[in-house]
Amino acid sequence: MEKAKLSVIQLFALMFIFEMGTALVVSYGTNAGKDAWLSILLVMCGGIVLFYIFYFLFRQYPNLLFTGYIREIFGKYVGWIVGLLYCLHFMYICGRNVRELGDLLVSSTLSETPLLAINLTLVLVMCYVIHLGIEVVGRTAEVFFVILLLLGAGGNFFVLVSGDVDFYQIRPFLEHGWKPILTTAFPHLLIFPFGEMIAFTMLLPYLNRPKLVKRAWLGAVISSGLILSWMFVLNTSVLGIDVMQRSVFPTLTAVGKVNLFDFIERLDAIVVFTLLITVFFKASIYLYAAVIGITDLFKLNSYRQILFPIGTIVIFLSLAMASSFSEQGEEGFLVQYLSVALLIVIPLLMLVVSIIRNRFKKKMN
């Protein structure tokens, strides 16, 4: 473990940006039709429940990384293997995020640039920031958090005053009943992005005031849930549910429609920039989690030794994981089952095991 301290504000900024990452821009929750905003709110509550699981485990082992206390709970060997599984998962998701950003840039703005060039530059910058330490990542996040808020406020303002918004488009309420709302919410939306917060269990020991974790984490979950839900409403009331469901990047399409006085137009850059910022931090956190986890599991001296090799693997993964955008999307749905296990089932199991252990310990005493 490196010696570093994160402030609560930095942690909140990181978490918030992390949650916004890709979910803000990619087609999110549209299977639930016009009621997806409700799905997102439901899932936000699920995210709060998940938080309490992680929080309980963190309180048990406040000085250990996730990969550390997984070995405490499951035993040395099983815990080690499961821990490695998590590290691989973090690496894979990091690659996915990088790939998603590359795909957006290639299909929207840089149509002739090879994917490799985009992914390579992004991962290089990520490696550089992580090389400087998690504190630097945190401080950078603080700065970009403000920029992100300004971009968001600007984008929202222009869309709202553009006259394209028709809130009636999200009616009727419960168009197809509760079923699609629940099936979309659980498990798909719960994993992405709320379940993904598990990556932060690798950062919590660095907090300078661990007692404030609760505030930062819950604040991030609730604010991002509300914002994601609002963005769905806004996008749908600009595009209509039909375009929304067909669109690959609905926010990009919705913001692209803004045309004020034939003067303020082509605001797509705001969305691309938002995605760039959020994905940069999201992928960085995943990369850091993977690297620090591996360092912990293999008892290395410094995570800097393996940062660049892992970065290279991430670049390779991001290019090789799928041959087309559609394939990548389908793969995402397959990975979902694994994610359910990793992000929900195993933490739950850990919770149960650690409660039972505590009982035994008390009885023994």
Binding site: L132, R171, K257
Partner: protein, 409 residues
């Protein structure tokens, strides 16, 4: 930097890396030199010679920047401010790429101002024309779509030169906007609205037509005449059903559409004065309409409410408009006039069995269970039979600079 783990001996290396990055990062795969782009200002799609290999004839209008940018041309011969290239092909994308054999640079679409579709293509179906436009990131879906009406092809319509605006497609776009704002009869349809309409079944698209001799439109000499022998004119609203052009709405029937869809900005309406027909002109300066659906016996009933405010523009009639009672009568006349227009349009749409106003979605909002039952048979069986009530409230606020006209009769 040296404190952060990069030793001094690495400094020269770092310097080289930085220099390389400066070169690499500033470069870009997707750079386009401005002078190498052919900026497309308008696009026209006509029917090709056969059904498979040459399904479409696509024309693009490219701006000639040196002619548009003004400035003295000296003794040079005036070239036309735009030029067009035409190709045929079976898909839009293929045809547009083929044009590169003729055009000097790569076609650049973000500044596309109008898309004109030939009437023949429209009759056969426009469903296939918009996928590429929606899919390609280069296109913005905010440009208006028009249907070239009558015997002139879309290409010819796009090529009519005009004297006040150098670029014909810009002139079409401006004329459309002005007519929409001042005359209120022919609303413009953006490409994204067409796509949505195609998905739902029925859509309306504005018509455009050449007034005069088609042949002489395509020459700069056309603009040298005070009264050009060919002019373009926005005319009619084309009614599409399942992607095919079915019918044209003109005049009052077309204005009814603008009333119902709450897109009326300004227009002028004539009222009768006793026996004198169409004697008083009223300007509608503000209008708002809303649609409300109630369900009666599992059947939808549609209520359309229109609020309009206006002023008297012209009064060829001896009535004293200074009296509020007289104005009150005019209000009622105006209300009746608007109501008739709306009903005329609704009747036409019902006869065509196409729900151009998207009442279906309103029913879905009002009662989703009823909508689910009738959705499949809505346009075919239920919409033509549905009761539509129109309620208009019109108020004439002002009478201009005079009250009573100088006319005595």
């Amino acid at each position: 930097m040296s404190q952060r783990g990069i030793p001094m001996r690495h400094k020269p290396l770092m310097l080289i890396v930085v220099c390389v990055f400066v070169v690499l990062l500033s470069g870009c795969w997707d750079r386009e030199e401005l002078q190498q782009l052919s900026i497309v200002s308008g696009m026209a799609i006509d029917k090709g010679s056969d059904k498979i290999k040459n399904r479409y004839r696509v024309t693009v209008q490219i701006i000639n920047p040196s002619q548009v940018s003004g400035g003295q041309q000296g003794g040079k011969v005036q070239a036309s401010p735009v030029t067009t290239f035409t190709e045929t092909g079976s898909t839009l994308a293929e045809t547009l790429r083929k044009i590169s054999t003729k055009s000097p640079g790569e076609l650049f679409f973000p500044h596309l101002q109008v898309l004109v579709i030939g009437e023949k293509v429209a009759k056969e179906g426009i469903e296939d024309l918009f996928d590429m436009i929606e899919r390609d990131a280069q296109f913005r879906v905010l440009f208006p779509v028009l249907i070239a009406r009558g015997h002139a092809t879309a290409k010819e319509t796009l090529e009519v030169t005009t004297s006040l605006e150098a670029i014909p497609s810009a002139k079409i776009g401006d004329a459309l906007k002005t007519s929409e704002e001042d005359w209120g009869t022919y609303k413009s349809t953006r490409a994204d609205q067409v796509v949505q309409g195609l998905k739902e079944g029925s859509v309306m698209v504005t018509g455009i037509k050449i007034d005069g001799e088609t042949k002489s439109g395509n020459a700069t000499t056309n603009t040298q005449q005070i009264s050009p022998s060919a002019q373009i004119e926005i005319k009619g609203v084309a009614l599409f059903k399942n992607g095919k052009l079915k019918n044209w709405l003109d005049g009052h029937a077309a204005r009814g559409v603008t009333w119902v869809t709450n897109e009326m900005k300004r227009t002028v309406m004539n009222l009768n004065c006793g026996k004198k027909k169409e004697a008083t002109a009223i300007e509608i300066s503000r209008a708002k309409s809303s649609t409300h659906v109630t369900i009666k016996h599992q059947k939808p009933v549609i209520y359309i409410t229109v609020h309009a405010e206006g002023a008297v523009l012209e009064n060829n009639c001896s009535k004293d408009l200074g009296k509020s009672q007289v104005l009150g009568q005019l209000d009622e006349q105006l209300e009746e006039e608007i109501k008739q227009e709306v009903l005329l349009t609704v009747k036409k749409a019902q006869k065509q069995k196409s729900d151009i106003f998207n009442f279906g979605e309103q029913i879905n909002m009002a009662d989703k269970h009823v909508w689910k039952n009738i959705e499949s048979s809505w346009e075919k069986d239920i919409f033509p039979e549905t009761e539509v009530y129109v309620n208009v409230e019109a108020i004439i606020r002002r009478t201009g600079m005079t009250t009573k006209s100088y006319l005595n009769k």
